[in-house]
């Protein structure tokens, strides 16, 4: 029989206001095996933990139940406390009487009853707990960063500076990401390239950083500390070692009709191309879809003009397999498709553009060489209307329910830059709310209004109406004036909602990292573990976790790096001892469990058994506890019940069921 202690936490008033904690303590005494029960204000506090330690030692406890907040919150805390007092940490069970009880119920009697039942279930379970010892696994001292935008670059540099090897895998031909497409950055109006390019150079020159561009993660296996990753290096058709980056091939390439990804399709590029002048590596790729040589077999101009002989039409995709201890996801974002928002006439007029397209228009390396002009006729606009929240804050199925966070600030930036450079252009912004939390942000927005005379109108736009003369009639609300206004404009700029890069779903599935309904990666804790995924060894950097501006992204990238470094600094990791075990006397050796194990942790061995006097050799399932992650799929697949999961055994769960239904 166990000697169980029950510790009921008030959590200030979080629990005690709705649950009669003294009643719970009283009821605890009536449960089998309970030799000690007490309540305290904050069990997780130092004083609370001291009480636990004292009880363990004085009452010689062999198991304990803490009735408190979610085990996802403080199970680790209480396990450590128990261990310090000499109790095996796996003899601790948590009854979640806060998130699952006091916070959701109003009636004290009802909540108290439920808390008692939850406590009973935990006691019933702990009665069947057995001490467990974690195993050890090694840590590969190398990190993988998926995505080479500012988030990935910053994370890689920080990890590399701490002395660990880092690989960056970037899908496109160059690192740089979205930030490389921006013209200026708020709130200081620095030139984006001027602050990004040095970071790109630093990453590429760093002896600890290895960059795979034009590459994708193909397969991930393993677990924290010991991931194995296949990386597909897509055929560049250019030998990276030979190419000098002279650019002649791009100049001479006769196929120049492919839409430029970098310029958001506003102009075209050659079939052999580097996305932009400052690309790293400065080695072009051949877009085989656009290349005449690949389409027809004739041409070969690039090969002829290449002095270095770097063009290789025969190059094939290559799979590189690497081991990593930690993986950082930094896959970034894209703007949403505006197909469902055609009331803004995006598909009907060239002069309705997204803000990201405006960045390219404003940029000296962009399609208009930095001149502000209408894309339809090249004329200089006199009236520009900005529309905020296009696709953001939409609870219907057209857009995104969240605020994209960056639009208010970049729209103020655009408005300000236009008014600064072209004082004769009128700028109107239709907004729902202007959201500017951040250092010097509201001041920035107010400057747009007060110094630059940008006309902010509170109200959404209902329809953009292209006119026969090429002008755009913007029909919107002015809610403060209670008017519907019709405004003639030469250009309309849509602050389009951002969404996680569409690849993230595939990557999350490979990493078994969870993802929310909007395809943002979920953090382990919204407040306390914002840069870790709930999946151990996976860290989150940048917009893949939620909308962010550049300073926030860089801050989070650094934080993700620190978390990864903390992991890589360890030589060994303790493994979860809640793994499956096969009972050799019950195992049929039928291989059913092996077929459902996602980790290949189950193998079969011929073992000599002594089954109540019968000695024979049997085919028996053996679990490799270093590989087993403790999901339990095998335990249900096993018809004989030979396979059981430590910490969540059949009898333990049944004891909980019984206690709840009692």
């Amino acid at each position: 029989m166990q000697r169980i202690g029950v510790f009921v936490c008030h959590c200030g008033s979080n629990i005690a206001a709705t649950v009669d904690v003294s009643k719970v303590v009283e009821m605890a005494h009536m449960e089998p095996g309970v030799v000690h029960a007490e309540d305290y204000q904050y069990m997780c506090s130092e004083a609370g933990q001291a009480k636990i330690a004292a009880a363990i030692q004085e009452k010689k406890l062999t198991g304990m139940v803490v009735c408190s907040c979610s085990p996802r919150m403080h199970e680790a805390t209480f396990r450590k406390a128990a261990e310090r007092a000499g109790l095996n940490p796996y003899m601790v069970e948590i009854a979640n009487i806060r998130e699952h009880c006091s916070w959701i119920h109003k009636d004290m009697e009802e909540a108290t009853k439920k808390a008692v039942i939850l406590m009973r279930a935990a006691i019933a379970k702990v009665n069947l707990n057995a001490p467990l010892q974690p195993g050890e696994s090694r840590v590969t001292k190398r990190a993988l960063v998926i995505g080479g935008g500012i988030a990935g670059i910053q994370t890689a540099i920080d990890i590399a500076d701490a002395g660990y090897e880092v690989d960056i895998v970037e899908k496109t031909p160059s690192i740089g990401g979205r930030m490389s497409q921006l013209d200026k950055t708020f709130p200081t109006l620095d030139c984006s390239a001027c602050i990004l390019t040095p970071k790109m150079v630093e990453a590429s020159a760093h002896e600890k950083i290895n960059i795979y561009t034009y590459s994708e993660v193909e397969k991930v296996s393993g677990f924290v500390g010991d991931f194995t990753v296949d990386i597909r290096k897509k055929a560049r058709s250019v030998d990276m070692d030979k190419c000098t980056g002279c650019g002649v091939c791009q100049e001479k390439c006769p196929s120049k009709k492919a839409p430029s990804e970098f310029n958001r399709g506003l102009n075209t590029r050659s079939a052999i191309y580097t996305p932009f002048a400052q690309a790293i590596p400065n080695v072009p790729v051949i877009d085989r879809e656009a290349c005449i040589k690949f389409k027809t077999g004739k041409c070969g101009v690039c090969s002829k003009v290449c002095q270095a002989g770097a063009i290789d039409y025969e190059q094939k995709d290559e799979i590189v397999t690497e081991k990593y201890g930690a993986i950082v996801v930094a896959t970034g974002f894209d703007t949403i498709n505006l197909e469902k928002y055609d009331e803004y006439a995006y598909s009907q007029s060239k002069d309705v553009i997204t803000s990201l397209e405006l960045e390219r228009v404003m940029n000296a390396a962009g399609p208009t060489h930095g001149h502000l002009e209408r894309l339809s006729d090249g004329k200089a606009p006199k009236e520009i209307v900005f529309i905020q929240c296009v696709g953001s804050r939409c609870s219907d199925d057209r857009g995104k329910p969240y605020c994209s966070k960056i639009c208010c600030m970049y729209t103020a930036k655009h408005a300000m830059l236009i008014r600064d450079k072209y004082p004769d252009v009128n700028v109107t912004v239709f907004y729902i709310d202007v959201r500017t939390p951040g250092k010097n942000f509201d001041e920035f927005y107010r400057r747009a209004v007060e110094q630059y005379g940008v006309n902010y109108i509170k109200g959404q736009v209902g329809k953009v109406i292209p006119q026969p003369d090429g002008k755009l009639l913007v029909q919107g609300s002015d809610l403060l004036d209670n008017k519907q206004i019709l405004k003639e404009a030469d250009m309309v700029v849509l602050a389009t909602a951002i969404e996680p890069n569409p690849d993230v779903r595939r990557i999350a599935t490979m990493l078994t990292a969870s993802i929310d309904t909007n395809n943002f990666l979920t953090e382990a804790h919204a407040k306390l573990r914002p840069v870790e995924s709930p999946t151990a060894g996976i860290f989150l950097s940048g917009v893949c976790q939620g909308p962010k501006d550049i300073p926030e992204t860089v801050a989070q990238a650094g934080a993700a790096a620190v978390k990864a470094i903390g992991l890589l600094a360890k030589d060994k990791l303790l493994t979860n001892p809640c793994t499956a075990q096969s009972d050799i006397l019950l195992c049929n050796g039928c291989s059913t469990c092996e077929n459902v194990c996602p980790y290949g942790a189950i193998t079969y061995e011929d073992k000599e058994v002594n089954d109540h006097g019968i000695r024979e050799t049997r085919r028996i399932a053996v679990v490799n506890s270093a590989l087993c992650q403790g999901c339990g799929a095998c335990t249900v697949a096993c018809p004989s019940g030979a396979m059981d999961l430590q910490g969540f055994s059949n009898r333990q769960i049944i004891a909980e069921v019984d206690a709840i239904c009692r």
Binding site: K340, D342, Q348, L473
Partner: protein
């Protein structure tokens, strides 16, 4: 291809053209439109109130008849199409309405939205295909610049009607291309003409129609085409027929070369046999 056909009240009276030319074209296209027996008017406007049942029953009756015949239900009129589709959606997805309506109806087997409702334009696009239609055109309307006027009922609410992009539709434009003419795209083609209020708020609806006409004209349209009797009436009435407005079925019949023979005929002339006879002759 055989469909249950729901003409609706207006097609029997003021909008005969919409009906007659549709039937003529159907024959030419090898489609059989079997008129629903004893159909009753859909009411012309979808009752938005979630507690309205009685006003939906005439639609349920027609839908159920099509279900029993195992046919899809086709309408020509935008309003009928709108009301039918939405009532059908209620019967399919709103348990309360389905139960109550079925209680009234006393059918052998309860109706639960099984019938598919199609606008004739959808039949042209999805069942026949505009490419196929193009092949059957004998008298292409080459050179005609035609503006499509959608109005509201065909497109909205887009989730329920699932007809076309509500802000940038293209079904009528594709239709116009198929019959050999040139579509004129203008921004007000999905803006309301104020049809429903044209009885009592004549000034208001007039200003709306003028806006639409001006826009279409500005973009070079020589005529407008619509699927809605109310829009046709209102646009003609309120703007003094600045640009001619015709039903899409009339254009279709003309392109298929069957317009002349049917001009001025009533729907009665379209018994199955007569139709076959007439088409063979032509």
């Amino acid at each position: 291809m055989k469909y249950s056909y729901y003409p609706g009240c207006t097609l029997r009276t003021k909008a005969k053209d919409l009906d007659v030319y549709a039937r003529a074209s159907a024959v030419a296209l090898g489609i059989e439109l079997e008129e629903i027996t004893d159909w009753q008017c859909c009411g012309g406007v979808y009752p938005l109130g979630t507690d309205e049942i009685a006003t939906k029953l005439s639609c349920v009756r027609a839908l159920n008849e099509a279900k029993e015949k195992g046919q899809e239900l086709v309408t020509m009129c935008s309003a009928c199409h709108h009301v039918m589709k939405r009532v059908n959606d209620d019967m399919k997805n709103v348990e309360d309405i389905r139960t109550r309506a079925n209680n009234y109806m006393e059918l052998d087997e309860p109706y639960a939205g099984e019938t598919e409702v199609l606008h004739f334009l959808e039949v042209l696009r999805d069942k026949i295909g505009f490419d196929e239609l193009k092949k059957k055109v004998t008298n292409p309307l080459t050179g005609k610049k035609i503006g499509a006027y959608y109005g509201c009922l065909l497109l909205r609410p887009s989730k329920l009607l699932a007809f076309d992009d509500p802000e940038n539709p293209k079904i009528i434009e594709d239709f116009i291309r198929a019959i050999g003419a040139e579509p004129v795209i203008y921004p007000y083609r999905n803006e309301c003409c104020g049809g429903y209020i044209s009885l009592k708020e004549k000034e208001l609806s007039k200003s709306m129609c003028e806006k639409i006409m001006e826009s279409a004209e500005g973009f070079g349209a020589e005529m407008l085409t619509t699927a809605c009797p109310l829009c046709l009436y209102n646009l003609n009435k309120s703007t003094g027929a600045k640009l001619p407005v015709v039903y899409f079925t009339e254009l279709l019949a003309e392109a298929l070369g069957v317009r002349g023979e049917y001009q001025g005929k009533s729907a009665g002339a379209f018994g199955k046999e007569e139709m076959e006879k007439e088409v063979q002759v032509s």
